[in-house]
């Protein structure tokens, strides 16, 4: 395959020191995620899903091994360069309380564009289109406290994808939503993946999400136990 992976790891380990005992949360994971993939990482609680996701996004530095995003080796980057890479190349969606409470839905969604100094009308146009596409048009000026859980997660998804990142990492994005709302949010992300070619990597226990996976990675005890591709990656 000639295409550069969105993210790639090579024998990556994460060992935590906990009360003097070493906890090997991630044990020698090597994998490549291609642009346009819709990857779901599943596995029992404590299997290392969150830790691996944090490693992929540069929120945690590996104890051993390497991680590349768009070909850049995260382990060699300075704190500033890493922050910049996160800003420009990675989107995050967390389980809940993702949004900055003092900013409106639009300001939250356009946060990375704002930091990058994009002009206001351009930002508004992009966020407007995105809100339209994911079904939250008209909520732009509301603060997060005035949005439902599902609406908040959509704003979080909008914020993650708006800057056209190399990959979007989502840790249990549906865990706090009821199943109908979860399904709707999954549709939103699947559509974004199909239509814009956004790369998604999920960590989840949600069977609905696993069903949609185009590639399913099963983690057991911090290692990849299964990696199965079900269909080809989306192309933008």
């Amino acid at each position: 395959m000639s295409e550069q992976p969105a993210v790639r790891t090579s024998d990556v380990w994460k060992v935590f020191e906990h009360d003097g005992i070493a906890v090997e949360a991630v044990r020698g994971v090597t994998l490549e995620i291609l642009p346009g993939e819709f990857v779901v990482m599943a596995g029992p609680s404590g299997s290392g899903k969150t830790t691996l996701l944090n490693l992929l996004g540069g929120l945690t530095q590996p104890t051993r091994g390497k991680v590349w995003i768009d070909g850049a080796d995260l382990t060699t980057l300075s704190e500033r360069a890493l922050a910049r890479l996160r800003l420009e190349r990675v989107g995050f969606v967390f389980q809940a309380y993702n949004l900055l409470p003092v900013l409106t839905a639009r300001e939250n969604a356009e946060f990375s564009l704002l930091l990058q100094g994009m002009a206001e009308d351009e930002r508004h146009r992009m966020v407007g289109e995105l809100f339209e596409r994911i079904g939250i048009a008209g909520l732009e000026d509301r603060r997060p406290a005035k949005l439902s859980g599902g609406q908040q997660q959509r704003v979080a998804v909008a914020r993650a994808v708006v800057g056209a990142p190399a990959l979007v990492l989502a840790d249990e994005p549906t865990a706090n939503l009821d199943s109908a709302t979860s399904l709707a949010l999954l549709d939103v992300m699947a559509n974004l993946n199909r239509e814009l070619g956004t790369t998604f990597v999920f960590a989840t226990h949600d069977p609905q999400l696993m069903e949609r996976a185009q590639r399913l990675i099963r983690l057991v005890d911090g290692a990849v136990a299964l990696d199965e591709r079900r269909s080809a990656p989306a192309s933008p």
Binding site: N54, G57, R84
Partner: protein, 426 residues
């Protein structure tokens, strides 16, 4: 950091301050109270010191004293200001840049001597004065201080103005005669007969027993010094002008080698200077204690809000802010609080002080009898002094306190571990 980034950080900080208005209000109140107390203490303190200095310099030798460099130590007529020196001094005092600072000038011929009556002899400090100028200067002659008779007047010759205690010790009344004796210019003991024309009381024993005023011309003739004096005392329009007046006078008159010393009141009256410095020291201690309390209040509230908002800072970092930028948000929040609370505090402090005490704060109720110190009677009514310097200093110190108090919480914000912060806790 680009401008757009700074703008975003500022917006976040500003909105956080507003969103946590309860916290902001509390912190702001603590700071405001601090500033109000500071402003009150400073305006009253400065007012009191101005009074002390004013009383002190009037009793003594003025804000600025011109003497022979040795006179302070020897108190001898040998160390006096001859005609040439007096002329130089007069010219310097008339120079426009000096004259603009000067309120009153008075020449004096001072000497140690004895006051003799048929019953006793008492050592005294005899001062030959120009009655008109002196009346406005020392205020020994003002009506409130007078217990009988009048102050010296132009045209007086063999008259003396004495203190109540001296009068008692020598058994003098108005019109009584006494003989003053002192060493004259040639070193001989000479006597001079004078008559009591007025009696005063300051309440300070050392003054009331020892200071005798006689006409300058009488003293000069008696001691054979022609038109010479020992001291030219200068009262300025404000104590704040002293350093400037000293600088300008010294530039014109030259350094001490030329036979004239230009002394500030701090040099001429070291005890008063020490007392004010001591009082200032306690004032500073009070300020420091106040600021430590205010700073702790700020550190506490801002730190609490940082710890409470760990997740928010985790999100910011995940979104691509650097550690430094998250710290900037916290720091800016602290500085916004500081600036607003500081400004309101300063305005409020001045307003409250002015409303309560612009006519003066009378603390005589808290005292028994008169308040005197190091030979000075103090007024028990202090009028607060309002100055631009105080506004600047109050604001400056609160900004420094806010700055220091915001640093630690800002530092703590950089210690937040993103992965840890993003762990979900329902």
């Amino acid at each position: 950091m680009t401008r757009s980034r700074r703008g975003v950080l500022l917006r976040l900080a500003r909105r956080n301050v507003v969103r946590q208005w309860r916290r902001s209000l509390l912190t702001g109140m603590a700071m405001m109270l601090g500033v109000v107390a500071l402003v009150m203490a400073r305006t009253i303190g400065d007012g009191a010191h101005e009074d002390w200095i004013d009383s002190g310099v009037r009793m003594g030798t003025g804000h600025v004293t011109l003497q022979h460099p040795q006179f302070r130590f020897s108190r001898k007529l040998d160390h006096r200001l001859p005609a040439a020196a007096r002329a130089r001094i007069a010219a310097a005092l008339e120079a426009p840049e000096v004259a603009s600072l000067v309120a009153q000038v008075t020449p004096r011929l001072e000497m140690m001597g004895l006051a003799n009556s048929p019953t006793a002899a008492v050592p005294v400090n005899i001062i030959g004065v120009e009655s008109e100028g002196e009346a406005r200067f020392s205020q020994l002659g003002v009506e409130q201080r007078r217990v009988g008779g009048r102050y010296l007047e132009p045209g007086d010759r063999l008259h003396a103005y004495v203190g109540e205690r001296l009068a008692q010790r020598l058994d003098l009344g108005l019109g009584s005669r006494l003989v003053l004796t002192a060493q004259d210019a040639s070193g001989e003991i000479a006597g001079q007969l004078v008559r009591v024309v007025g009696i005063y009381r300051t309440g300070v024993p050392e003054v009331d027993e020892a200071v005798v005023h006689i006409p300058l011309a009488t003293a000069q003739e008696w001691l054979g010094v022609e038109d010479d004096v020992t001291t030219v005392a200068v009262l300025l329009t404000s104590a704040w002008g002293v350093p400037r007046a000293l600088r300008r006078l010294r530039a014109r008159i030259g350094e001490e080698g030329d036979g004239i010393a230009v002394l500030g009141w701090r040099q001429a009256m070291p005890e008063l200077d020490a007392a004010i410095k001591l009082d200032d020291f306690w004032g500073y201690v009070f300020n420091v204690v106040l600021f430590v309390i205010v700073a702790l209040a700020i550190v506490n509230t801002i730190l609490m809000s940082v710890l409470y908002r760990t997740r928010e800072f985790g999100v910011l970092r995940a979104l691509g802010l650097t550690k430094r930028e998250t710290a900037t948000v916290v720091f800016t929040e602290g500085m916004i609080l500081t600036a607003v609370a500081g400004m309101v505090g300063v305005v409020l402090g001045f307003a409250v002080t002015w409303l309560l005490w612009h006519d003066g704060l009378d603390y005589s109720g808290a005292l028994e009898g008169e308040l005197t110190f190091s030979g000075v009677v103090l007024d028990t009514v202090v009028v607060p002094v309002f100055r631009r310097v105080q506004v600047v200093m109050s604001l400056g110190s609160i900004v420094i306190v806010g700055l220091l108090a915001s640093l630690y919480p800002a530092y703590r914000a950089t210690r937040i571990d993103v992965a840890e912060a993003m762990k979900f806790e329902a």
